[in-house]
């Protein structure tokens, strides 16, 4: 029986349990005037959960363990004596036999796989029947046990609510699991990387060329300083030169000057800039902005200007970040007490003087926090730089020169043809760890700044 059919069967049994228990509970409630702790539906859910959860748990455990059991059964057959000793060949013959048995492929490379396939299919179907029988047995046993407890005095509601609370707690623990997963996987691969390449070479080396790695001294061509500089230059300098003035000024205009109707229309339009997928920005940067920037550079006399310049990627990234800066600035200006603004206006200051001398200084910590968050988003941005920035790592201050970033290198390193354990692919995880740590620190600092500033006015 297929897994889907079995799941439906279990769900159907659960439904039957729900209905019968509910009918029974309704019946014993009907004849009495006593107060009950649980509604009929609670009893229904109690039985349904007891019917469905044990077989589901069993099936999950079974799906992990049964392949090994099936393989053991195949290995016990006489034909399996001809198998080579454990190793790559043996595994490949077995997996071929399995795909033959499941009907996924029709021809076999190894003759032995062909002979093993029938016994594979037989073992598979035998274990499938065992699983079905056990699952149904568990469903009936659980359902029957729960059904006997459906009595007037039984607190089904407290039981159900306990399960609900467990589910809620379990769901919120997934966030911690994800964080732990990220940190653990990045750390594990990075530690392997740093056992090959000294951490000082990686953090302070100024030469990055992963295409040619000297096996005797891999650290010599894996110095990440040019990447850090390129990331900082594109994400924190060029992009912010675009995003801060535009974002701040549009926030000021929309909150202080614009009519409510203008604000109502323009704010969503600006937010659309943040909703455009980054791959679209990347395409726009590579196809339209980058050639324009190069032509501009050539026309002002820089004949060697790259068509994959830092400026093109940074400009487009800045445009993408505008709504982010704008909404952060909007929030922090709105948090300044209106008495300060009113006081300044009452003294005869013009609106712009009030904004520049009173509102902005008062909102500055919030704005700075917002800019830090924007920087953290910009340096983690991938597609724009993958499509518009170059792969050549250079330490340069010239915006028309080609620079590369951490994210671009992660993509380049991991989408190549290299095997999974080479220093090249491991370097991507070390870069990922660096990126993770830096964005995390930026976020913590930014949130702390914003929070302290909010407290000052509360």
């Amino acid at each position: 029986m297929s897994a889907i059919a079995l799941l439906f069967l279990v769900a159907g049994l659960g439904l039957i349990g729900w209905l019968t228990a509910r009918v029974r509970a309704t019946r014993f409630r009907a004849g009495s005037t006593a107060r009950f702790s649980s509604l009929p539906a609670h009893h229904g859910w109690y039985v349904a959960l007891w019917t469905a959860i044990p077989p589901l748990v069993f099936l999950v455990i079974w799906s992990v363990t049964s392949p090994a059991l099936v393989t053991d059964a195949v290995l016990a057959t006489p034909a399996a004596i001809q198998l080579p000793p454990p190793g790559f060949d043996r595994a490949s013959i077995l997996s071929e036999a399995r795909s033959l048995a499941e009907g996924q492929s029709f021809g076999a490379f190894h003759g032995l796989a062909q002979t093993l396939a029938p016994s594979y299919a037989a073992a598979q179907s035998r274990y499938d029947w065992i699983a079905t029988a056990l699952a149904l047995l568990l469903a009936f046993a659980g359902g029957a046990f729960a059904f006997t407890r459906v009595k007037p005095g039984f607190g089904a509601r407290t039981q159900i609510e306990r399960v609900v609370m467990l589910a809620l707690l379990g769901a919120s623990l997934i966030a911690i699991l994800t964080t732990v997963g990220i940190v653990a996987s990045l750390l594990y691969e990075s530690v392997r990387f740093f056992s090959v390449v000294p951490i000082t070479d990686f953090l302070f080396g100024t030469h990055w060329s992963p295409q040619v790695i000297d096996a005797r001294d891999p650290g010599a061509s894996l110095g990440a300083v040019p990447l850090f500089w390129g990331t900082f230059f594109i994400g924190a300098v060029i992009a912010m030169i675009v995003a801060i003035p535009f974002g701040l000024m549009s926030a000021i205009y929309l909150t202080q000057y614009a009519k409510p109707t203008t604000r109502k229309w323009m704010k969503p339009i600006l937010e659309m800039l943040a909703g455009v997928p980054t791959v679209v920005y990347g395409y726009f940067a590579a196809l339209t902005v980058a050639p324009a920037v190069r032509d501009l550079a050539v026309s002002i006399g820089i004949s060697w200007a790259s068509s994959e310049s830092a400026l093109a990627a940074g400009l487009v990234m800045g445009i993408m970040i505008i709504p982010f800066v704008s909404s952060m600035a909007d929030d922090s200006i709105a948090a300044v007490p209106s008495s300060m603004r009113d006081g300044s206006l009452a003294m005869g200051a013009t609106s712009s003087e009030t904004i520049r001398r009173v509102l902005l200084p008062a909102a500055l910590p919030g704005v700075v926090g917002g800019v830090l968050l924007a920087v953290s988003r910009a340096i983690g941005e991938t597609m724009i730089v993958v499509m518009a920035a170059s792969g050549v790592a250079t330490l340069t201050l010239n915006p028309f020169a080609s620079t590369t970033t951490v994210t671009k290198q992660i993509v380049d390193l991991l989408t190549g043809e290299a095997e999974f354990d080479s220093p090249k692919t491991l370097a991507a995880f070390a870069l990922g760890l660096t990126l993770f740590v830096v964005t995390l620190l930026l976020n913590i600092v930014a949130l702390r700044v914003v929070k302290r500033y909010r407290e000052a006015y509360d």
Binding site: E189, Y253, V276, V279, I319, S351, S376, T415
Partner: protein
Amino acid sequence: MTDTLVPSLPTSGAEPVRRVPTDWTTQAMQSRIRRRYASERRFRFAGLAAVWMSAAFLAFLLVSMLSQGASGFVETRVALPVDLAAAKLPISPSRLVGRGADLALAGAGLEGTVLAAASTAYGKDGANLLSDGAWAVVRDAIKADPSLLQRRAVFEVPVSSPIDVAAKGVGTNEAEAIYARLTARGVLSRGFNTGFLTSADSTDATRVGIWGAFKGSLLTMAVTLLLAFPIGVLSALYLEEYAPKNRWTDLIEVSINNLAAVPSIIFGLLGLAVFLGTFGMPRSAPIVGGLTLALMTMPVIVIAGRNAIKAVPPSIRDAALGVGASPVQVVFHHVLPLALPGILTGTIIGMARALGETAPLLMIGMRAFIAAPPSGLNDPATVLPVQIFLWSDQVSRGFVEKTSAAIIVLLVFLLAMNGVAIYLRNRFETRW
């Protein structure tokens, strides 16, 4: 600020300071006011300019995509007379029904017949005029009407990519010349490229379609939604309604807030190391893409959900508790239904972000060339944004308009999702 216009009160017995009120009519004062007002106007104009420039960036982006991509939905066709009766294809009409028809026609040498017909009609280079998919058009016509095999007929077949590009005005000189020749003969026509919406990736720009990538996106999004929505809503309910104030709760909150700010590529690294490396799940599969994006979308839903739940006034909870509801009943019967519009808005916005996401999916191998739409969650697949990325890397000129056309499709979907979110917010938002 010290020289106020109001005379200060005699406080320490000293003589009250006499102050002359400012004479605003003097030349100096007038010019000073003019300067201040001019600076006010300049500042205001700068703000207005910033808003309009930002909107102009958006307009420029959209217009340039539209103008480049519109032609991607159009294909150029050439009239091709094929004498199928003379070709005597070794095929019986009985095999032209059902699923075997494609295979039967391909095996019968139809492709060669079509190419030969092109050489007869347009000279010895005639075969180069046709798209690789030209014979498929003839095949589909025969499937629809088997009597075509007994006579000579004229088919409108798509032209090859260089001619198609030339027809849209940016071709090479050679292709332009051929295009001019064909136009003079009056055999060219244009039509809506239905193949673009129904087929998958290909190496020939005239044959590519987005259906394969779109189906991959649908499968991936289904996995993402099925995982991220329940987990996100349950976590939000727990944190907002039940969580005790202790270290664990703080840890959960910090994790969620940090996950929302982690760069998306890091989730790709997680998927690569954990789902592909540790669990050994299949590369390029929608299930892995969906899992990875679900981890990324879940914090967004939690944060939106918490805000929506927080907005439900405590009086609702108190009233429900007052008539005897248990804490779980209060939340699931009263708070959750009232918060649901807000949660759904946040979910749609999170899903729109996931739909446009590229980088994490590159990490888990969804960048392979996939010429057939995926048929299940474990099949190799690609998604719409990754398809855009792959096409943007192609050198062939014909792919430029296809890339922009795919971008238009993606943007239409994102705009529709955001529109639904805004509608939900406006329609169901309650001010308590």
